[in-house]
Amino acid sequence: MTDTIGNDTLAIAGRDFGSRLFLGTAGYPNQQVMLDALAASGTELATMAIRRISLDGYAESLVDVLNGALGGRVGLLPNTAGCLTAKEAVLTAQLAREALDTPWIKLEVIGDRELLYPDVEELLRATEELVNDGFVVLPYCNDDPVTCRKLADLGAAAVMPLGAFIGSGLGIRNPHAIETICARSPVPVVLDAGIGTASDAARAMELGCSAVLLNTAVSKARDPVRMAAAMRDAVAAGRGAFTAGRMPMRAFAEPSSPQLGLIGG
């Protein structure tokens, strides 16, 4: 997106993104709503999962559906959702690369099936292996500056700390941690998970995130297409505010109007 101030593209691993919103493809009321939401969001990167094929029948390929409807404008970011170990995640990533012909991977290694919270040890191990295997690794991780730095040191192309539990819509539970990660990270920070509504997405960008990745906030909105457009605007607004630099906060009032020339003095 080129705004009125100038070009503000995001670069990850040498690839430029005009949109700073990455969108998931799961849980929409139907396929047409998903496609309309992707289009309305303006996203240039859509996530997908890798799963065993149904051996009962071969269905239409999601990749063909996406490319057909969106004309190849949206890149594909496969994930390793559901993997519990580095070994599973590495094989899933390698299968994703083979299936989609992309080295990009949203790396998820979870340590708890109910909380979907990252398993840091396994995540670091998988990141190292996949980076060494030539992948562009975007790890979903804790909102922990130390873990984020370790991931970047291992060669992650971006880090993707959670705002709150996946699918919770609870917003950014520890904004100070996210702001600290953004201030210190040598690689782009993508807020992943927890976004519930547009103000959460704007907040993430105001805290300094380079992009936002969300899914449920759009797919489970009453009107997903309208929410996708709202998220597009929120991410752009938050980014604008961050680059503009907000005013300092004050504890007391400071009049905006001049104090000279008041009548009745």
Binding site: G24, G27, Y28, M48, R52, L62, L76, A81, A99
Partner: protein, 71 residues
């Protein structure tokens, strides 16, 4: 080789009936040029170009996957 020779396909045990990976996939309607399909044989990715030339042996474990909706 006994009549009980079997392989695992996506976690399900089944009799070994196909000579090659390509033949097994074809039996399920997956052509060699099917888009978006990937295969792992015994825990390692089997590139598409090797589907035809790779024979199946009893005890082999195959994973056949594709991209689906995800977050």
């Amino acid at each position: 080789m006994t009549a009980a020779a079997s392989i695992r396909v996506n976690g399900r045990e089944e009799p070994l009936a196909a000579g090659s990976v390509a033949e097994l996939l074809a039996g399920r309607g997956i052509a060699e040029d099917a888009r978006g399909v990937a295969v792992a044989l015994n825990g390692a990715v089997l590139p598409r170009r090797r589907w035809t030339g790779t024979a199946l042996t009893p005890g082999d474990s195959l994973e056949i996957v594709r991209p689906i909706q995800g977050g």
